[in-house]
């Protein structure tokens, strides 16, 4: 109705149940004493509808009182969704709450229609074109309703046929090689690549566009795409019509604009050369690398405008690369987000970019690599945002997503074999978010006692000198590591020091004392081991241990590297005064080459060599075997073993009962290198490669490791095969073995295997699974085709 303007003396609201009058007055744009006309009334009605509480709003005038008549929307008592398989119920309920439909909330028919459309769209996106969504609303008393949404998903439409029309220069098979939408094939049952989705198709058409533009066809266009669905809505047919146009070559390239750095430096980065076939990808790499170069010296907003000037007759295009540096920018503040557990300084000390300094893209890139290298985060994202009100300042925002960078294992068990077993193992690379590496391990059972404690503070000094200490006491049965049968009881105390000498190189030193008591009994441990102990004449080895090391890490990513190299060299010495004086050298190198977007090659090698440098131990052994005699000359009782006479002292080669001379030389067996298993030559069970020996009276060959280790591997990674950042598939060739000594090295004895492996960064830590075929092996080798490791960084 039309209102002649009047001043409101009072306002009355009728029809309220759940909503309080006060609430209506907050949203109502009219107050007592206002003069009101029909326009004002219309605004009021619109305002009240916007609150979403009311199904109907009417305004009347009684004398000077404004009467607002409302009918409230019903409240939702129960909201149930049934029949949904592809989309989980929690995601649906979350989506519904965002649209405004939730238990206890107000029921709005408009919102319900929006929900039905949204669900249909989501299912269409998953290729389910004949989905039926039927919402039913049942009224209850006290203005309440129950809402039930029934979903009948129906079968997904399959892409039966994709057809490109108009491609003469390139076969359709190459064009569609990298597409995600595929015709139904045997892999579709698990890859689901024959399920149609609009996003997937538009992504594929974009790839088609790049394919042509990267090969000089600058006029390429996709004219039309038809997507037809069969009447039974089961099969889809996709046709795309395209005009290729002509191939263009580059006629000239010149760099203009304010290049800041000398033009020659900039021109060195230009990959697009006259005479080449034009390629958009090369152009993009060129413009990116020029703007990055300027970004390294403060020009955060630098960019390059590439304006082509096309010459239609002789099919060439001239390129004018106009460099726009923008202002030189300073970084005002560096803000960290997402570090609810990790302390700010642990992140800030990895930053190579300083606040109050000019912006450096190189420093920010290096900071990202270093932050990833900590291993505390699933993802690290570095972004710069201009500061409002100043033309030349940015804030750098680093957003991290923390992961569990450690493990906590607590075990309590009982078994006949090992009695009561208790095991507590806490290892945290980021202990309490302070960046310190702490590992405490205590496990006990009847044949194993182990107490380890290690602590390293990677930033004992502000510039990154790391200091730490290890303490352990272990009573070990080595046979559970597939190696020879001997037990050892060892205790150690060590100090560890690390000094960064350049951005990528670190030198390290360790000094410690340890004692190692070996129990190797004749008949169970292999003879060379027992001879060694006898020759040394002492079962307990006290060692004054020193180690120096050097490492260089230029990898571009901590867990899934694409380029760069990791090298480590260490020399460990049992210093003079130790029971046995020896040294151990170890060198590792691992290099990554990025072949292209889909292939990353990795070559690895590890060489270990150890030897003694002190005096050798020689001992002559005199021995006469005992015999079985009938000591109580009673034939019925069994004979008794009577040991032979005591060996002559001192035992000389000339003594009558001289048996042999044994010498202990070279690297002590308990310090030997081992090979085989996931970290060296896959396909062979852990630590079983290399020399073997038998114990007296047994023919069972026990691996005893060796003083020389040579292991190598060539592995090809396929980062794009699985599109989750945390998983990488690879094919590999592993070669390697350990040898008793330098002389014993024989390339013919090198074992080799080839196979496939999966590296997956799971929430519980990195897991690697590999399946290998050893093809250079000996019959006595212990094979293990399927192997996996869990946790630990490799």
């Amino acid at each position: 109705e039309v209102f002649s303007p009047f001043t409101v003396t009072d306002i009355r609201v009728d029809g309220l149940q759940r909503i309080a009058a006060g609430t209506v007055f907050t949203y109502l744009p009219i107050e007592r004493g206002d003069t009101v006309d029909s326009a004002k009334v219309a605004d009021a009605i619109r305002a009240l509808y916007k609150t979403g509480f009311f199904e109907d709003v009417r305004v009347e005038k009684q004398g000077d009182i404004l009467v607002v008549q409302v009918t409230e929307r019903p409240a939702i008592n129960k909201l149930t969704i049934s029949g949904n398989k592809d989309i989980k119920t929690e995601d649906l309920t979350k989506g519904l709450t965002e649209i405004g439909l939730s238990e206890g909330g107000t029921f709005d028919r408009l919102a319900l229609d929006r929900v039905t459309q949204e669900l249909t769209r989501q299912y269409n996106n998953r290729g389910k074109y004949n989905v039926e969504i039927t919402p039913t609303v049942t009224r209850l008393d006290r203005n309440r309703v129950d809402v039930a949404i029934a979903v009948k998903e129906g079968a997904a439409a399959r892409i039966r046929h994709i057809n490109l029309v108009g491609n003469e220069k390139f076969p359709e098979q190459d064009l569609r090689d990298s597409w995600e939408s595929r015709e139904t094939n045997w892999k579709s049952f698990y890859k689901r690549d024959d399920q149609y989705s609009r996003e997937k198709l538009s992504g594929d058409l974009e790839k088609l566009n790049s394919y042509y533009l990267d090969r000089g066809y600058i006029d390429f266009t996709v004219d039309n795409t038809q997507v037809e669905i069969s009447p039974n809505r089961q099969d889809m047919f996709i046709t795309a019509g395209l005009t290729e146009g002509e191939q263009y070559k580059v006629s000239k390239v010149d760099v203009t604009g304010d290049t800041i750095l000398p033009k020659a430096e900039i021109e060195k980065r230009v990959l697009v050369k006259p005479g080449q076939v034009f390629s958009r990808r090369l152009l993009e790499i060129t413009t990116d690398s020029i703007s990055a170069m300027l970004g390294n010296v403060g020009y955060a907003f630098a960019h390059v405008n590439a304006t082509p000037d096309v010459d239609r007759e002789n099919k060439t295009v001239g390129l004018n690369l106009q460099v726009v540096p923008g202002p030189r920018v300073n970084v005002r503040r560096i803000i960290f987000k997402g570090n609810t557990r990790t302390s700010d300084e642990v992140l800030r000390r990895e930053m190579r970019q300083f606040e109050g300094s000019w912006y450096s893209q190189a420093a920010l890139d290096r900071s990202k690599i270093r932050l990833q290298g900590l291993g505390y985060f699933e993802s690290v994202d570095v972004d710069s945002q201009p500061v409002a009100g100043t033309p030349d300042q940015v804030d750098v925002v680093v957003t991290v997503k923390e992961t569990t960078s450690g493990s906590f294992v607590f075990g309590l068990g009982y078994s006949q074999l090992s009695g009561l077993t208790t095991q507590i193992q806490v290892s945290q690379n980021n202990f309490l978010g302070t960046g310190n590496r702490v590992s405490v391990q205590a496990n006990r059972n009847s044949f194993l006692k182990r107490y380890d404690f290690s602590f390293v503070n990677p930033y004992f000094t502000d510039s990154g000198v790391s200091l730490g200490y290890n303490l352990w006491w272990r009573e070990f049965d080595n046979s559970n590591y597939n190696t020879a049968q001997f037990n050892s009881t060892s205790g150690a105390a060590q100090m560890v020091l690390g000094i960064p000498i350049t951005e990528t190189d670190t030198i390290s030193a360790m000094f410690g004392i340890d004692s190692n008591e070996i129990f190797a009994s004749r008949g169970s441990a292999p003879d060379p081991l027992v001879d060694y102990i006898d020759a040394v004449g002492n079962r307990t080895f006290h060692t004054l241990r020193g180690q120096v090391g050097w490492s260089r890490n230029t990898l571009d990513n901590f867990l899934t590297p694409n380029t760069g190299m990791l090298q480590r060299f260490s020399a460990e010495v049992a210093l003079p005064g130790s029971t046995v004086e020896y040294f151990k050298l170890n060198y590792e190198i691992s290099k990554f080459w990025r072949i292209n977007r889909h292939l990353v090659l990795n070559t690895r090698a590890e060489i270990g060599y150890g030897d003694s440098y002190g005096k050798d131990f020689t001992r002559n052994v005199c021995y006469t075997a005992g015999t079985f005699q009938d000591t109580d000359n009673n034939p019925t009782t069994p004979n008794v073993y009577v040991p032979g006479p005591a060996p002559t002292e001192p035992c000389l080669p000339s003594s009558p009962d001289y048996a042999k001379t044994i010498t202990a030389t070279g690297l002590p067996f308990f310090e030997n290198f081992y090979a085989g298993g996931v970290r060296s030559v896959r396909g062979f069970s852990d630590n079983t490669l290399g020399p073997r020996a038998t114990a007296t009276g047994s023919t069972f060959l026990q691996p005893i490791g060796g003083a020389v280790k040579t292991v190598g591997s060539v592995e090809m990674f396929f980062p794009s095969l699985i599109n989750s950042p945390g998983a990488r598939v690879s094919a590999f060739l592993d070669v390697g073995n350990v040898f008793a000594s330098r002389g014993a090295f024989d390339a013919g004895q090198l074992r080799a295997s080839t196979g496939v492996a999966l590296l997956w960064r799971s929430p519980m830590g990195p897991i690697s699974i590999s399946y290998a075929f050893p093809f250079r092996k000996e019959p006595t080798d212990k094979l293990e085709r399927l192997q996996f490791t869990f946790g630990g960084v490799f």
């Binding site: 907050t26 609810t340 606040e355």
Partner: protein
């Protein structure tokens, strides 16, 4: 256990609103937050309006807060504020949201390991500060205003402490411009914080390190006025914690700031 759950649900079906409320409230008093929350949810679904419903929604939010379900508590509070913007104790809802946000990301057993919350992401404490400022400004004379103002002051000190720790981080590394900017940020944004004097002392040491004698002298004079017995004036400031402390795994977060 599912059988047990809906038996409890059926027991509440069709009961008068007072009985459901009494039952839920009893679980609240005995600290049994999840059963209380469940009972209140059934109450609100069956009786979508009326004073009991509003009270039930408020106690649901409190139960969720006490049970540590911070995200649920905040969404319950937001829904209440949208539906009952002029409720008589709406101030309590903003206050409760402030409480929830200030303990939302606290590291477990934070005090036991004496970890410093100022060192971690301050996003949720900042939200808590906004909630408390709503209580203090819009509901200044409510029961909660005084405590809200006190908590705001404490939060301001935490934010200022974060800025100061970062300023000292840069001062130690001879990045004096960065230290000056962080100190100025404290002076401009947290004027009455407990670190006023420390900020001025940072300016003075940074200027001294830069060899800018005039600015250093003036900053020192300013410090003299603000806190005559500040350690800087006696020459041993900042007094960084010893290095040996860094070898103690349970050393927690040490800082040169004394408050």
């Amino acid at each position: 256990c599912a059988r047990f759950k809906n038996r409890n649900g059926d027991a509440l079906e069709g009961q008068p609103v007072e009985t459901i409320y009494q039952k839920a409230h009893r679980s609240m008093l005995s600290g049994n937050w999840s059963t209380a929350e469940e009972a209140f949810k059934r109450l609100v679904a069956q009786y979508p309006y009326g004073p009991y419903t509003e009270q039930a929604l408020i106690e649901t939010a409190y139960a969720q807060y006490k049970a540590g379900q911070h995200d649920d508590a905040v969404s319950t509070i937001d829904r209440f504020i949208r539906t009952y913007p002029t409720h008589k104790n709406i101030a309590y809802l903003y206050y409760l949201r402030g409480l929830t946000n200030s303990s939302r990301d606290a590291v477990f057993l934070q005090r036991v390991w004496h970890l410093d919350p100022a060192r971690r992401d301050l996003a949720t404490p900042m939200q808590a500060y906004n909630d408390f400022s709503i209580v203090a400004e819009r509901y200044g004379n409510s029961r909660y205003a005084a405590d809200a103002r006190e908590r705001m002051a404490k939060l301001r000190d935490t934010f200022a402490r974060y800025e100061m720790d970062t300023a000292l981080y840069y001062l130690r590394r001879d990045a004096n411009v960065a230290a000056i900017d962080r100190a100025k940020y404290v002076l401009e944004n947290y004027p009455q914080s407990a670190y006023q004097a420390d900020a001025i002392a940072t300016l003075a040491s940074a200027y001294k390190a830069l060899g800018n004698t005039t600015l250093a002298a003036d900053a020192r004079a300013e410090l003299q006025k603000v806190d005559p017995n500040h350690a800087y004036l006696r020459g041993n400031w900042p007094d960084y914690p010893g290095h040996l402390r860094r070898l103690n795994p349970f050393g927690g977060d040490a800082s040169a700031l004394k408050h």
